[in-house]
């Protein structure tokens, strides 16, 4: 992973010093809340319902075991013993005192971390998929360019007061696991005819109250032009994006109103002016950064491990976990392991305690190369584990409740923190997640259902990415009462799609029954191993809607 040098360290240290001064000016009243607001947001500090929340950046979801130990320390020392991993590969601490934030940021800086631009109307954490560098189906490792963009966007003076937040994701695998199409800029990295790195640049995606998948504005952009091209897009957005209405301020609205062709022309015109200057990327810089992502010293292991095979045959619990919670690795004899942060009703999705973090750090040192990834599905990943270590690792993870074999299944719920924490949310998403996880805890049933993503957002801002869940649940408030609207057919990846609303919203206690009925329709109509989302695509919403709203005593409420 990327190692900070003296420049990187100097920047995060100077930033802590600056924010400490700003906090003290806020506390003694010399800085008004209005003036302080964007400053704290750009340092990751959010005011929630009960307390301040601090969102720490985990660039493209990569952590060292020592950095994870630092996060564990913060969870124990400054929060209530846990942290919440987010859908943008960051971590949030929900119970923070403003006075202590500078000390926490100091701890982060001393461990080559920061919370810069994890909030606010600026370029946010650059994300990629959790298996980058190791996935069997990866074309090119996207992490060096992700890190180069992280540096470029950090404290970039021209683009810190954009019309609205700005999210960039980059992916380079056959099946896009970074949800690039729902980002303001989605980048797809692929090799050209002679192996050179090219980028497809997609602009204008976003969820929120106007969900839109982004559209291609540039094909085959040579990698050297990445920064100038992004600069051109941001300059066009900064100048012409709407600022009169925060709900119309994302770049997707600008792209829509101009039309993607006119928008692309505008960007190209801007880019032509800056493409061949000092901001063109150099090979030296690429290799300087890329060497930090070079492969660790993999052992030359026999891809067929007899012990591993024997355990698979002997222990069905183990083989189920291996089938569900591991990913193919490009190196024979290795796999990537996904640690489920969704044990069921006992803990909210993405919540991990300080003790668990320390245990994960230790296991990463013991069975991996001391590296941990955060997946945008809010789970943790060990990128490099030898197959022969899997059994011991599985036993250890069970002790820490991180081995639930439900990755990619219905109970691998993606959920925002909702109204229990967030002051934007108008409904509580966590109780819905809990009820669903409780109702469908039978593993055999879950495995029979097969791959099925369920995403829950507590409000229109869509932090739970409900639009791209195979089943999406959106909390809406009507006369102070919570209702939940269900969409089906959403998907991320290569066949990204936005879900469609099945009908009137449900009360919280009706949701599990409605989900159950959706599943019954699926089981009735599926052919062979056809996944849920394919059946929705084939049949449309009709049969699902009919069954869910069939007269049954379920009170229907018209709440949109």
């Amino acid at each position: 992973m990327y190692n900070y040098d003296s420049y990187d360290r100097a920047l995060v240290q100077a930033r802590v010093h600056q924010f400490r001064d700003q906090v003290s000016r806020r506390l003694n009243g010399r800085l008004s809340e209005e003036e302080f607001l964007p400053l704290r947001l750009q340092n990751g500090v959010y005011l929630q319902r009960h307390a301040y929340m601090l969102r720490v950046a985990i660039p493209y979801g990569t952590l060292s075991s020592d950095q994870l130990r630092t996060l564990a320390f913060i969870a124990d020392q400054y929060d209530r013993g846990y942290g919440h991993f987010t859908t943008r590969q960051n971590i949030q601490f929900n119970w923070i005192e403003l006075e202590q934030v500078p000390d926490i940021l100091q701890l982060l800086a001393d461990n080559d971390m920061h919370a810069i631009q994890t909030s606010g109307n600026c370029v946010r954490n650059i994300t990629t998929e959790a298996f980058s560098g190791v996935a069997a189906d990866e074309l090119i490792d996207p992490r060096p360019l992700a890190e180069i963009m992280r540096q470029w966007s950090t404290v970039n003076p021209e683009f810190l007061f954009l019309p609205r937040k700005f999210k960039i994701a980059i992916s380079s695998s056959e099946s896009d696991r970074a949800a690039v199409r729902s980002h303001d800029i989605g980048l797809y990295l692929y090799p050209g005819k002679s192996g050179e790195m090219l980028l497809r640049v997609m602009v204008g995606g976003g969820l929120g109250r106007t969900p839109i998948l982004n559209e291609t504005v540039r094909e085959a952009l040579p990698w050297q032009h990445l920064l100038t091209y992004v600069e051109a897009i941001l300059r066009v957005y900064n100048r012409y994006g709407r600022r009169d209405n925060k709900y119309k301020a994302r770049i997707k609205i600008l792209v829509r109103s101009l039309g993607v062709d006119a928008f692309s022309e505008e960007v190209e015109r801007e880019w032509e002016q800056i493409r061949d200057g000092a901001a063109e990327l150099t090979k030296e810089e690429y290799f300087r950064v890329a060497q930090d992502f070079s492969a660790p010293h993999y052992e030359n292991v026999d891809p067929v491990d007899l012990d591993f095979g024997a355990w698979l045959a002997r222990d069905s619990g183990f083989s189920t976990w291996v089938r569900n919670n591991t990913q193919p690795h490009k190196v024979p004899g290795y796999v990537s392991v996904v640690l489920s942060t969704k044990p069921g009703a006992s803990a909210p999705p993405g919540d991990v305690t300080g003790d668990q973090m320390r245990a994960v750090a230790e296991l990463a040192d013991k069975y991996g190369f001391g590296e941990v990834r955060v997946a945008h599905e809010q789970n943790l990943v060990f990128p490099d584990v030898r197959k022969r270590d899997l059994y011991a690792l599985w036993i250890a993870l069970q002790n820490h409740h991180l081995a639930t074999p439900n990755i990619g299944l219905l109970t691998d719920v993606i959920a925002c923190p909702g109204g229990d924490y967030c002051s934007l949310a108008n409904t509580r998403s966590l109780p819905v997640a809990r009820d669903i996880q409780q109702r469908f805890e039978n593993l055999d049933f879950l495995h029979d259902l097969g791959p099925l993503s369920l995403n829950i957002s507590g409000c229109m801002n869509a932090c739970g990415h409900h639009h791209i869940g195979n089943i999406g649940i959106l909390g809406v408030s009507k006369n102070g009462e919570e209702f939940f609207q269900i969409t089906i057919g959403g998907a991320q990846g290569k066949d990204s799609a936005l879900g469609r609303v099945i009908g009137p919203a449900f009360k919280v206690d009706e949701v599990p029954e409605a989900i159950d009925r959706l599943l019954q329709v699926y089981l009735r109509y599926r052919e062979a191993d056809e996944p849920f989302v394919d059946v929705v695509r084939r049949l449309g919403v009709g049969p699902f809607k009919e069954e869910v709203y069939r007269k049954s005593g379920v009170d229907q409420e018209v709440a949109q």
Binding site: N3, Q18, Q22, V155, E158, L160, F161, R239, A278, R288
Partner: protein, 180 residues
């Protein structure tokens, strides 16, 4: 203008006797020395050939104005003021960048409006050379905004080469030990 900070040989200082004033729009008020007029008036003066007018005047651009409009006469404009209607409105940063890097403006580039201590270094990076601090704020206090955190990775008007180009050179000298 009052409450103005200027860069004198690159160093930020309070300017005691800043001569410039914004044209208040009243008839005749745009005559005389050291007036900053709106883009509309400036264009009218330019076309109408008001004797000595346009060439002495500064121009103020609103955030919607296109700085390209000044291109033709850019060498004759002594000062351009860019407005921050709110410090959270970042359009003037891009306008400043364009005026310096694309249209070659060499005169004084002034930030006006909601100009506050904590954004001054960003403005300086984007090419501003003077700063009319919001009138209810203490200009001496605002000066402190130039101390401290001023590092950026990307190129800016103030540092035309991005860090990775400077880093390479640094890497050959004393910074060599920094990176493994």
């Amino acid at each position: 203008m009052n409450n103005v900070i200027g860069l004198v040989d690159g160093v930020a200082e309070c300017l005691a006797d800043d001569p410039w004033r914004l044209d208040d729009g009243e008839k005749g008020s745009s005559t005389g020395e050291s007036v900053i007029v709106t883009l509309e008036r400036w264009k009218a003066a330019l076309c109408g050939g008001e004797a000595g007018g346009a060439s002495n005047h500064g121009v103020v651009l609103g955030p919607d104005d296109d700085p390209a409009e000044l291109r033709a006469a850019i060498g004759r404009i002594p000062i351009i003021a860019l407005q921050f209607p709110s410090f959270r409105d970042g359009r003037a940063y891009s306008q400043a960048n364009l005026l310096r890097t694309r249209y070659g403006f060499k005169g004084d580039l002034r930030a006006i409006g909601d100009v506050l201590r904590d954004q001054l270094v960003l403005m300086r990076h984007c090419g501003f050379t003077s700063f009319a601090v919001r009138s209810d704020k203490c200009v001496v206090d605002a000066l402190k905004g130039f101390d401290g955190c001023d590092m950026v990775y990307a190129r800016s008007v103030a540092t035309p080469e991005p860090l990775y180009r400077r880093r390479v050179r640094g890497g050959q000298s004393q910074e060599a030990g920094g990176h493994e």
